[in-house]
């Protein structure tokens, strides 16, 4: 019975993850986007910890701690700092208007559930039903990257995608082997660091973070 109770919480958190993904799609302010990203990380860390506790998979505790440290504390802090320094917290309109984006998002969710159905039926984990949600988060983050033209929202989309993948790994297999997870976390960390440098370079050269300026390299 205890397991069922935990499962309910994990399912609730999974639903929360999906909800936050949609909220990110509709968010126009960069700083609020970072806040949402931090919340998504928190939901992810909590659900991982609960799975670790209820199934006795101890290595998942490390993953949860890593998520908490990197995606809830370090990265949002770094992004807030970047936004303050570069003073870019304005309302930005995405390329496609928000209601349309949301509709596309719903289609993506249905697609993700269909794609995940055969796999989750084969899975032996307690939270296999959440695989569809994980895949939906990945696709929604992907959509966000496509519809945003500013540098920071694109990066957050990229990280949200990584969140979705991480959740997929937890729900299908109780997480990847620890070494791999550490490696992935290191890559993400270095990636964000490289991006920080990069964003300053873009700012210096273009005097803006709008990627619309970066459309010179097109096929003639």
């Amino acid at each position: 019975m205890a397991l069922n109770y935990h499962l309910q919480i994990v399912n609730l958190l999974a639903a929360l993850l999906l909800l936050i993904s949609f909220a990110m799609l509709s968010q126009r302010r960069v700083a609020s986007l970072v806040t949402l990203f931090a919340w998504q990380g928190a939901a992810l860390a909590l659900s991982t910890a609960i799975v670790a506790w209820s199934t006795g998979q101890h290595h998942l505790y490390y993953s949860a701690a890593l998520t908490l440290g990197l995606k809830v504390i370090a990265m949002p802090w770094y992004f807030y700092r970047l936004i303050r320094k570069l003073n870019v917290n304005r309302v930005v309109e995405p390329m496609i208007n928000i209601p349309t984006t949301m509709l596309i998002g719903i289609v993506l969710v249905i697609f993700a559930f269909n794609l995940a159905l055969p796999i989750s039926q084969m899975s032996g984990t307690v939270m296999r039903s959440t695989l569809g949600i994980a895949l939906a988060c990945v696709l929604l983050a992907f959509l966000m990257m496509i519809t945003r033209t500013k540098a920071i929202p694109q990066v957050i989309g990229f990280l949200a995608m990584e969140n979705g993948l991480f959740f997929a790994a937890t729900s299908a297999t109780y997480g990847m082997p620890l070494v791999v997870e550490l490696g992935v976390a290191l890559d993400v960390l270095v990636g964000v660091f490289v991006l920080g440098i990069f964003i300053f370079q873009i700012r210096e050269t273009f005097d803006s973070l709008d990627l619309k300026h970066m459309e010179k390299l097109k096929e003639k």
Binding site: I119, E162, G183, D187, I202, M214
Partner: protein
């Protein structure tokens, strides 16, 4: 034992260069580190040829003929590129395009990039393979934007985001692979080890592996530059410094294809049909055809040769997709030939553009008059990459096309037309660059073209005669790929 040195030298080289890379003699130290890597790679190769495949370090590293061949190729081209970049980057610094601080970044990233590629090649863990592929991308992002021009920043951003998304898909593929493996091998660290997976590949769940391969192919295929996932490649090659274009084109694309091949061997075992091979043939053929027709529209010389890389990677992917002993052999041979020839071409193109001060082909004229060595290097390199007989590219392309005629006749006209179009476009554009009229004075400094002629000499030699031990080695590797 060699394997630790092999990884340790470039990675410690990266740290060393980050600390001391601003010194005057940094380029020489960079070349020295690469030379050491090459020496260790040669030792390792000698051992593998003698003792056969082995796993090292509790199964964490796995080395067989297939990857040791790529390790040697990587170490060799990395060394010659370091030799080339020594005078090249100095001249760039004198022209004021780079500062000492950026050269430090360049040297440090260069070594880390090489280290990451060697890790990707030698690791036995499919997860670590993913991690190091992403590491190799991250190490080169700041290299592509080294000049800090608007175009180079745009190219680097595109490179980062597109390869990032691609590699994220590959991560999902890896997760699915682990999901299938865990059922057979149990959870924990060993379930992603390639040797373990290879042992039980027939028991892996086919539907999951099928899906996993699609994600892995699209993910790593982005890095191979397969059409329609290629749009980062010409930009990154054209806007980055020339030594970076040479290693991206000559090495990184190969390593990405290596990742696809490792997955293909597993999927073939699990599915027992040609699904993976057919997918690769489709992507490969599309890349060859689309790239060949896009070459004709290019005005920038590095961009043109970047498209030529897409075309050749497509051809290699097609060859591996066909499978079988001859096609895999031809694919491996073509990988070698393409790496050597294309990096040689980028070296000469680098000098030519440095001299002309532009990458526009219409502004580069009469190289043969202003600098005969550059002119001849570019001409010979172009002839070699286009597959003119005495050179090795001819041998591998000939093998690929005859196998295609035999097994998949429908594909032959596409291949032949594409190769013909590429020939006409590239030759037509390079010819006036080399032999056209020019009013420019001769180059004041000596170009460093030894690497070019060493590469072309090797390509020529392999076209005329493949030493027996090398042939055995290729054949062994081809067999591992399901021949």
């Amino acid at each position: 034992m060699e394997i630790y040195w092999l990884l340790g030298i470039p990675l410690s080289g990266g740290i060393f260069m980050a600390l001391w890379g601003f010194r005057r003699n940094a380029p020489e130290i960079n070349a020295l580190f690469s030379l050491l890597t090459l020496a260790v790679a040669a030792l390792l190769t000698a051992r593998i040829v003698e003792e056969g495949p082995m796993t090292v370090g509790n199964g964490w590293f796995f080395i067989d003929s297939f990857n040791v061949f790529l390790v040697t190729l990587t170490a060799f081209v990395a060394f010659t590129t370091a030799l080339f970049s020594r005078p090249y980057m100095r001249i760039e610094e004198e022209h004021g395009r780079l500062s000492a601080a950026r050269l430090r970044l360049y040297h440090s990233s260069y070594q880390i990039f090489i280290g990451m590629m060697i890790l990707a090649l030698t690791t036995n863990n499919m997860g670590i393979l993913w991690v190091s592929m992403e590491g190799a991308t991250l190490a080169t992002v700041l290299l592509v934007s080294l000049y800090r021009t608007p175009a180079s920043l745009e190219a680097a951003w595109k490179y980062f985001i597109l390869c990032g998304v691609g590699i994220a898909l590959a991560l999902f593929g890896t997760i699915l692979l682990y999901f299938a493996a865990e059922k057979v091998l149990g959870s924990g660290g060993t379930a992603l080890l390639w040797t373990q997976l290879n042992g039980v590949k027939t028991q892996l769940e086919p539907t999951v592996l099928q899906l996993a391969f699609v994600f892995l192919l699209v993910g790593y295929g982005t890095k191979v530059g397969l059409v329609p996932l290629h749009s980062w490649l010409p930009d990154a090659h054209a806007e980055g410094p020339t030594p970076v274009s040479a290693v991206l084109s000559g090495l990184l694309l190969n390593v990405a294809l290596y990742a696809v091949m490792r997955s293909k061997v597993l999927v073939d075992g699990a599915l027992g049909n040609d699904m993976a091979g057919n997918l690769m043939m489709g992507f490969g053929l599309l890349s060859v055809v689309v790239a060949a027709f896009l070459i004709n529209r290019q005005t920038d010389v590095k961009r043109m040769f970047a498209y030529s890389s897409i075309e050749h990677m497509g051809l290699i992917t097609f060859a591996f997709g066909m499978g079988g002993a001859v096609a895999s052999f031809a694919g491996l041979l073509h990988m070698t030939m393409h790496s050597l020839t294309k990096s040689a071409i980028f070296f000469t193109v680098g000098h030519a553009t440095q001299k002309a001060g532009t990458q526009l082909m219409s502004d580069i004229r009469g190289l043969i008059k202003t600098n005969p060595t550059i002119g001849w290097g570019l001409m010979l390199g172009t002839i070699a990459i286009l597959g003119v007989p005495p050179f090795g590219v001819f041998a591998s392309e000939f093998l690929i096309i005859t196998t295609a005629m035999h097994e998949h006749p429908w594909a032959t006209p596409f291949l032949l037309i594409a190769l013909g179009v590429a020939f006409a476009s590239i030759f037509g554009k390079v010819q006036p660059m080399v032999f056209g009229e020019t009013g420019l004075p001769r180059l004041p400094h000596m170009p460093a073209l030894t690497p070019v002629f060493v590469h072309l000499g090797l390509v020529l030699m392999l076209g005329l005669f493949i030493p027996p031990y090398l042939a055995t080695w290729y054949r062994q590797a081809a067999q591992l790929l399901g021949g």
